[in-house]
């Protein structure tokens, strides 16, 4: 198992002052996988990718990329990974080709190879006609692809992409996903982050759902997206129960929302995962309904929701039923491991 893991993270903690951005995060990504990293704003996705890219040092924990302990050998990281941040800029005075050539030089690509690398990468990302166009004149989607090409100049084995499709129109997004699949075919391992599961559902081979710095679910895509339905979940809400009922009712696939009293709703979900409106809360709620995951301390707009799979009957810390096995792990659909 470990030999096949391109990325292995164990007990990763990142502390900013008294705030734990990451609290003992653990997960593995197999070589050649496209791993979707799902979670709402502030969940810790970007911090995790920054640690993996070497831009932030972990407070605690082990991080291995392709068998290299990047905490002990941070210098090796640059050769192993390519990083595309969610927000990035380009140099106004550079053309697309010059931009790539500059980064190729930064990664010590041989001078005689740089021209070929630049041409190949522009071809790969579909920008051969933009070779001599100033980078700042490119559209958002083209810049995104150019930045992806930049991350590939040194032929890294692992690509870290922070919300690579954010801000793209549907056409550009489809192009981006097609490109990511092509990179997978080239043997790359990809880690993508997003706030919305359906956005990544069509390309990812596995998913991790992160919440408040903890991995709450980590499973292959088919088990997360196509488990047996319908599922029912009981929701205990603090705050405006009517709002929760409204939010839950608006989720595509939720066929019934029943108020049980004592601040508890029972939600029945049926149908495939598609067409989220892009709202953090509903999108994540939907992910959790689909995954049948029990989650605590999920905060959204002042509401505190406690989710658990339907049909469980043991009490959690708030006295609501939950299935909890040893070490706080519950079995997810088809045996995938779910962290409570």
């Amino acid at each position: 198992m470990a030999a096949e893991a391109a990325v292995r993270v164990q007990g990763l903690t990142k502390r900013f002052g008294h705030f734990d951005a990451l609290a003992g995060l653990s997960f593995e990504v197999k070589r050649g996988d496209i791993f979707g990293f799902i979670g709402p704003n502030g969940a810790g996705k970007t911090t995790t990718l920054r640690v993996l890219a070497g831009l932030a040092r972990p407070t605690e924990g082990d991080v291995n990329i392709e068998g290299v302990d990047i905490v002990a050998h941070p210098a090796a990281l640059g050769e192993l990974t390519g990083y595309v941040p969610d927000l990035f800029g380009v140099y106004d005075s550079m053309t697309a080709a010059e931009y790539l050539a500059f980064y190729a030089a930064c990664y010590r690509v041989s001078r005689r190879l740089i021209g070929r690398v630049v041409d190949d990468l522009l071809e790969l990302v579909g920008l051969p006609g933009k070779r001599d166009v100033p980078a700042n004149k490119l559209s958002r989607g083209m810049k995104q692809r150019l930045c992806l090409a930049r991350a590939l100049v040194h032929d890294p084995r692992v690509l870290l992409l922070d919300e690579p499709a954010s801000g793209l129109d549907p056409g550009a997004r489809a192009d981006m996903y097609q490109l990511l699949r092509a990179l997978q075919e080239l043997g790359k391992t990809l880690l993508l982050s997003s706030q919305i599961l359906p956005e990544l559902a069509e390309i990812c081979t596995s998913f991790g759902v992160i919440q408040a710095g903890r991995m709450v679910a980590c499973a292959p895509a088919q088990s997360l997206l196509s488990g047996p339905g319908p599922r029912r979940a009981r929701v205990r809400a603090r705050g405006d129960l009517a709002s929760v009922e409204k939010i839950a009712g608006a989720i595509e696939g939720v066929t019934q929302v029943h108020r049980n009293g004592a601040g508890t709703l029972e939600v029945t979900y049926e149908g495939p995962g598609a067409g989220s409106e892009g709202l953090d809360g509903p999108a994540i709620l939907r992910v959790l309904v689909m995954a049948g995951v029990a989650v605590t301390d999920f905060r959204d707009d002042g509401l505190e929701l406690f989710w658990q799979p339907a049909g469980t009957d043991r009490a959690d810390r708030d006295g609501v039923g939950a299935t909890v096995t040893e070490e706080g792990r519950t079995p997810g659909p088809d045996g995938s491991e779910v962290v409570d």
């Binding site: 800029g89 005075s93 930064c106 010590r108 930049r150 192009d175 490109l179 699949r181």
Partner: protein, 349 residues
């Protein structure tokens, strides 16, 4: 669009450093060793940021406009000084004195322009990358903070060097008139280089420490002003704290040869430049004793032997421009080191 090219460099590319050197014969081994040596040298001097920055700066009309405007100003200064030594017929009276005065005034103008240009060039160096959201992309490359800082600094200083070298034809006029020794020019360039590095390193530190271009540039200029004027003002304020001493030679010496103020004032490049280019009370540095009465004056009357010295206590005595060069060199190294450390430790929020 996105199908992978069959013969793409992408799939087989390895960093240059990882490419093995092959060859089994003696000649091949020698070549391999030569290649290794060349690779080591390349690795030491390798910094793509310098080339990128210079290309970006020299592209377009900005650099040309800057250079033209700069030469116009320096040329105007030279013309005014030269005219002052010309008779009504246009002939130069006392060619040696004219050459010396022209050289000094050009050199002062160059030094002043360095003080004005360097903070503006280096202040936005790192803060600009951060503001443009390209700093992280650089930090994840194998370049490392040291090469990023040095690359930015060298590129900015190369532009300053271009401005200085562009003045060479003007300086050559001073040589034609006489009164200038080559060693004066070498001393001036060494001093200018160190002052440029010093100002550049202070600006670089501001650029690393501050997230936005505007504040970083403002603080860079403030740092320049503090470096220039601070020691002079500080020395003036400290004069009462040190006892006066009589000078046995009867030379103007207001508050003693050994004392902190003399050392403090030498930190300022203004003091160093005035010493380097001045000729005592008869020349441009005559204002120094006025600014800092504690400043040590040794020597007789106006002439080549006349110079300011600064006591470094147990380290002996240096000419003031040499002391200034030493202090500013130290500040430059400290500033560069602090910038590298800060950039390494600074984590994005």
């Amino acid at each position: 669009m996105t199908s992978a090219p069959a013969d793409t460099a992408l799939t087989g590319l390895a960093p240059v450093s990882a490419q093995p050197v092959t060859g089994s014969s003696g000649t091949s081994r020698q070549k391999a060793r030569a290649n290794d040596a060349a690779a080591i040298v390349r690795r030491l001097v390798w910094n793509p940021i310098v080339a990128k920055e210079l290309r970006s700066r020299m592209r377009g009309w900005h650099a040309l406009a800057l250079l033209t405007g700069y030469l116009c100003v320096i040329g105007a200064v030279g013309y005014v000084v030269y005219s002052g030594y010309s008779g009504s017929s246009g002939n130069v009276i006392e060619a040696g004195a004219a050459g010396s005065a022209l050289f000094r005034s050009l050199a002062l103008a160059v030094m002043a322009s360095i003080a004005l240009v360097v903070p503006g060039l280096v202040g936005p160096a790192i803060s600009g990358e951060r503001e443009r959201q390209t700093l992280e992309l650089l930090l994840v490359t194998p370049l490392g903070p040291a090469r990023i800082v040095l690359g930015k600094l060298v590129a900015a200083l190369a532009l300053v060097a271009l401005l200085v070298l562009a003045c060479a034809p003007l300086f050559s006029v001073a040589f034609l008139l006489g009164g200038i020794a080559p060693v004066h020019v070498l001393e001036l360039f060494a001093f200018a280089l160190v002052v440029t590095l010093c100002l550049g390193s202070l600006s670089m530190f501001a650029s690393v420490a501050l997230p936005r271009v505007g504040p970083a540039t403002v603080v860079s200029y403030l740092a320049m002003l503090v470096l220039m004027a601070g020691p002079l003002i500080g020395s003036y304020g400290l004069q009462g704290a040190f006892p006066s001493a009589d000078n046995a030679n009867g030379v103007t010496e207001v508050s003693g040869r050994v004392g902190a103020p003399g050392v403090v004032v030498a930190i300022s490049p203004v003091a160093g430049a005035a010493d380097l280019l001045g000729s005592g009370p008869c020349g441009v540095s005559g204002f120094l004793p006025v600014i800092s009465p504690n400043f040590v004056w040794v020597g007789g009357d106006c002439g080549a032997a006349l110079e300011y010295t600064t006591s470094l206590g147990p380290l002996g005595t240096l000419q003031t421009w040499q002391a200034s060069l030493s202090f500013d060199g130290f500040i430059a190294l400290a500033g560069i080191g602090a910038s590298v450390i800060m950039l390494r430790r600074r984590e994005p929020s």
